[in-house]
Amino acid sequence: MADVNRGNRPLSPFMIGTYYRPQMTSISSIMVRITGIATLGTAFLVVCWLLAAATSPDAFAVVDGLLRSFVGDILMLCATWAIWYHMLGRLRHVIWDLGYLVELDVSQKMGWGMFIGATVLTIITVLVV
């Protein structure tokens, strides 16, 4: 049957804006998606670097110089945080999917754990690398 009311139906409110107050569960979930897409950008940079290394010393000097410049350092720092955060966020999805830790207070704690964990892992990465 044709939907006569198309386009005029009540829509569920968007997560961001005045409709919902910010919650740890929603913000930490949105960040998983953002960091996942950002990691595709990181992949682009890393592949450019590999391709440059495989091409010639001159090409490598250009791309390596970019990645190791001040802006490059900041970018790689953010990229490192993003990939760690995404890994932890996705781990949370796996844990949830197996049926564990779905209680609200535990989920909120895991959200904090993702932000803090990614930051700690990034600091460790900077110290080790």
Binding site: R33, T39, V47, A54, T80
Partner: protein, 123 residues
């Protein structure tokens, strides 16, 4: 009593008509990320910052080369799925379809380029 299994009832459903396939693939790659990401971050981290000759020598070794190749395939396909999900959620109609094609083209090009570079560096 129903003779259909739970899996059979879910197959072919969902807005994408592919049932739980996408979700299941995401769960698998998510679990794999927990292994690959730490290995790759520290491996790539030690490679970045070396001079040209040292980088060539580094990726000529089996462990960094194989790990980077695995990461390139698994992580890029994972992020492609992540981007696809976001596009399906927020961009509709023809622009959405074109964006999905574009993200796919970018992702597979990146994978091919990474593998080519690694083969050239390793051999």
């Amino acid at each position: 009593m129903r003779f259909l299994t739970d899996r059979k009832r879910a197959q072919g459903l969902g807005s994408g008509r592919t049932g739980t396939h996408h979700h299941w693939k995401m769960m698998i790659s998510s679990a794999v990320l927990v292994v690959l990401v730490p290995l790759f971050v520290f491996t790539f981290g030690t490679a970045l910052g070396r001079d040209y000759e040292a980088v060539l020598a580094f990726f000529a070794r089996p462990f960094p080369a194989i790990l980077t190749a695995l990461t390139a395939v698994v992580v890029i396909l994972h992020c492609k799925s992540e981007a696809d999900e976001a596009i399906i959620d927020y961009v509709h109609g023809t622009p959405g379809k074109l964006l999905i094609v574009a993200v796919g083209a970018l992702s597979y090009t990146l994978i091919a380029a990474a593998l080519f570079a690694l083969v050239k560096l390793a051999l």
